[in-house]
Symmetry: D2
Subunit: 362 residues, 4 copies
């Protein structure tokens, strides 16, 4: 179950404090030029130290590609890769061996497996997402070469600071912003303030990420279990700390009237367009050519800089000392992960769709 | 891609106006007594005519089980089943052959497949969900016999009528309520009023369904792609008209502080409990023994009783005449579908977990 | 695990003496004209009464297609189908309720599932293969329309009667021959004699089926687990009574020298051909454009017309009375099943290959 | 498609002359002690230089385990591993860049992917099987701890030298024998002579490997697509150079009479045994508790020490100079690969079976 996707797949491995993490990307079409520098850049963006506001930890996260690419071109064979873990500080984690941290996976992993890797979050650590970034970066380059599909995610809320309705995102600004806000100015400043206030208080804060997928041809997605929203939702809900996913009109749909939200077609357009896009670019599980957009909510990290009541493995009360270096807000770093999962899912949908288009042959 | 699940799976088939729909339920453990009457009852609940407020269509939806059960007991072999379509009214749908209805899958299916079954919604019709009800009803009976897991879904909002925060649901009332409201009284009346007002106006209205899963042992769910929330979210997002899915604190997580929402353990409890349940019963993708709860938003049906601007297959403006018999609110009927998908997913998670528990053997 | 294939898949159901058997064919490309009469004809060929030499049982095996095809054209949605069981004779089988027949699946099914459907072979009966014939017939028609791939299987041995080395098969004769021998004359007569002798003695006899796949483009098959020979072998080894599968030079490879069996290329040919075809049309798991050919061995049916020592469910000695109507040789009827599995596998390989050919888009 | 298995899975990667090969083993049950030295030993056995008669190449093949095991115990998380390629000699292979070797995958890979890694066999090289050895070694240790299942493969034929019918294999001798013959003496000597003769002549020779699986409980294997023989056959047919697979009475079944080969039960045995084992331990796809045995034929390697006519990429005649270091017989080294694939498959079958055994819970 450590595998994402149907045709374009990532099978990943690695504990946060083991020797390395990595994965195998399979279903990579042959003949695509891959810029390995861009893969490294995308991995760098997710690093804890990559935003001014994040934790002080500096993990180099050097991506080592081991197969599947020869003379810069994909061979059609799987791309194996590893990223060494270099920043072990087991000393910071010794008390974790006997404690269950609140709202962490310590207890549930131990309930499931009978034991756990207590050196950090093991497999449940967000560090695992680095492998997804690598696979997403490969998918993005193939999408760019083979289609018009482009994918941008950005922070749309941190705590009480929310991007005003109707803000036009500037995609070139996202990675210039320490919080991955797509516009400079007041909204970005409020987001930064939310994080800094949480940090001063030894607390953490949640947020939301929005994502826009443009250039999608009509026809991607499969009926039923393969509906595009189910594939995208499952991919995003597998990211640590996500508590909800909505697309198009989203949770507001519950309050809406059909007459307000039907997307009427614009007659005489080729390909056919709609006048509005309440649907979020998907009808019946299949893309209609309009932009796909969705929104994800992240909970605040349960690890904080303050002491927390915990229990030990025998159920006795204990105290978790907040001495580690913890990021007060995971959202800015999660933006890359949302993008990566979306890139992987859209390429997978494109390949699935192609597999069914046999009639072209005749 | 017409297949749900990993070990306990449903592969379904059927167009809304073809001869029949049905499916194959595979991965059914052997030796379980199945009450086939209960399966039929659950299918009846989803029928269009099953709620006082729904459409006048009466489809008997007789479930015919064809294999996998012998002398009332599961054999371990797949359960094949069909439900004949008896209420064909192709005359109602003739204009659909040349029209694309707004916010329907007519255009996207044709973009994908180059043709479509224009007799109704084809594969994208909500009628497809009857097969899910059957598989869910089988899963529910196995869950009841093999575990303490119990699953209840109910309507928590219709349009502006929302179940008040903190309402204690009465599970015995849900299917007595025509709107599947879990309490009688003002809230239920407001929900009914929302639907009746929409009907009077020839309009439709959205809503929300909540679901509670109790009796879950700690340890269900797999890391990464198999996280319990990703499995549940994907299952629910595949239901027609769903626009968003959230669990635990849900979309509100974006505004929260870590100190407010960490679920502290209650020391000296066996199995270990938490004092609060903001997490919604899942940590790191794995159940922690607390109740799992989630909420789903449904959009208002795009088919209404009023005329709507549409386009024909050549992109020319046309009018869709609202003469059919359409349900002003799909939410009450969707409650059963949410329950069914949840039953299937929880049994699948239970079987997946068991597959990995080899150490018990030693 | 009642599912065959990766993209073009059959999920089947049905016990031999339950109400019906059937399945769901998923991954069917849209826009293909399907001749449903031909599907029925292929199902008829497998029937017990279809060959002069077979059992006297006459099961009509009427195939009822329930979805996925509209106005004779595939919709891209799954094809559900059923075949009613009409020839129940539970009386013939009552002793089976308490007996385990030698070399049957009675004991193993009960060991696995704790119970079994004792009315005939249940799920292990060869009757299950009727569903495969239906899916194979659909696959064949799509292959014929979309490619040059053509598939012919025929009986190459029955007991001691073996088709002489170098016999040129006449594909038009196969289904004229009661034993599915591809040539008339002495070889066919010997095969018939083997069966008739076995019948006279109340015994059964084994045999072999050969299969030739022509018109295969170079490039089908995937490396490693998806090697074309692994896909074909797995498909064929799942047919009841098969004990071995070999392709190209087959089991004789063990005795061969590399210098004798290397298939040298024929220079200046386009597409490139080889002078010989010891390899059987596959190199490194991928088709090279030459004919693929393989051979399958079937064991003699363990159910005979004579009394056999058996045991009852408590392990006590018992006698199985050979009073049923049993086919002395399953091989002639198995020819259609080998063809069907091969058709399904080759279409699946074609679709898998297409899924990876994204570079064509650019 | 670079993935083996259903629950216990190996997803592998790596070209023969790229930086490394490796894989991800997923579905590993938690809590098992793993002896990593034994994994290395099994990998060493497959090395080209591991048998006296093999090629002179010495590839250290150091297995580096990167995750999934902590303090010698499996965590339940995936085991990622790599093996660096250290013995690059691209100079030996430069002519391969423009040549298609006869009976190799050069042409078919290029036909499929439009390009290939010409530095050696790329993904089609037998070197790929090292990853399978690692996964098989993990599976074997889990099988040993959790079941009585034991798996032994050995060379049963090399060219004309065949192990006499009825030879009792001495499992402790297999890896002492340079040809993996299970008995010392005349048979082993003949096998060695076959290889040495082929080497002297610059030729190569084929052979056969037999495998015995003992201690299998009745009930493993799934009906239809998951039949144990189909799972085993597919696993073995994916090994490079395999041309055929047979189990139990095998290809001889074609000549047999039912009365000769029915495996009669031995009354009053618990668990129930059969007097003979023509079936090879499997009935209806499910193990019956008797030993499973099968036999595999390997073709002679198409790369020899002599010059061979080849063609270049434009189809012009060319000569392949036999200057490399080539193994005259792959069979002794293939024995470990057959064992590894069998270990993986049997553990997978055990886990699949467990997933369905829910009734135990009640």
């Amino acid at each position: 179950m450590n595998r994402f996707g149907n045709i374009f797949t990532l099978t990943s491995f690695g504990e946060s404090h083991g020797p390395a993490l990595g994965g195998v990307i399979d279903g990579v079409p042959s003949g695509f030029v891959i810029d390995t520098e861009r893969i490294q850049q995308e991995a760098d963006r997710r690093r804890p130290g990559s935003t001014r506001l994040g934790t002080g930890r500096r993990e180099p996260d050097r991506v080592e590609l081991l197969s599947g690419i020869h003379e810069r071109v994909t061979l059609g064979s799987p791309i194996g890769f590893i990223i060494r873990n270099t920043d072990h500080h087991p000393a910071d984690y010794t008390e974790m061996q006997r404690l269950y941290r609140p709202s962490h996976a310590d207890y549930t992993y131990e309930a499931k497996y009978g034991l756990r890797d207590w050196r950090g979050g093991g497999r449940s650590s967000a560090r695992e997402t680095t492998s997804r970034i690598v696979a997403g970066a490969v998918a993005r380059q193939i999408l760019e070469a083979a289609s018009d599909i482009r994918i941008y995610a950005y922070t749309s809320a941190i705590g009480r600071a929310t991007l005003p309705e109707g803000t036009e995102p500037d995609y070139t600004y996202i990675y210039k912003s320490s919080v991955r806000c797509p516009v400079s100015g007041a909204a970005e400043q409020s987001m930064i303030s939310e994080i800094e206030e949480a940090r001063r208080q030894g607390d953490s804060v949640g947020g939301a990420v929005s994502c826009i997928i443009s250039g999608v041809p009509a026809g991607l997605g499969e009926p039923l279990a393969g509906k595009l929203q189910a594939m995208l939702g499952a991919a995003i809900l597998s990211i640590p700390a996500v508590k909800g996913w909505e697309y198009g009109m989203g949770m507001h749909a519950a309050r809406a009237r059909g007459s307000e939200v039907a997307d009427l077609f614009e007659p005489e357009t080729t390909p056919l367009r709609t006048l509005t896009n309440h649907s979020g670019g998907i009808q019946g599980g299949i893309s209609n050519g309009a932009d796909i957009y969705f929104r994800v909510a992240f909970k605040p990290a349960p690890t904080m800089m303050r002491d927390l009541p915990a229990v030990d493995r025998d159920g006795h009360a204990a105290t978790l000392h907040g001495k580690g270096r913890h990021d007060p807000c995971v959202v800015p770093r999660a933006v890359s992960v949302v993008e990566a999962m979306t890139c992987m899912t859209m390429l997978d949908a494109l390949l699935l769709h192609r597999a069914g288009q046999l009639r072209e042959l005749r």
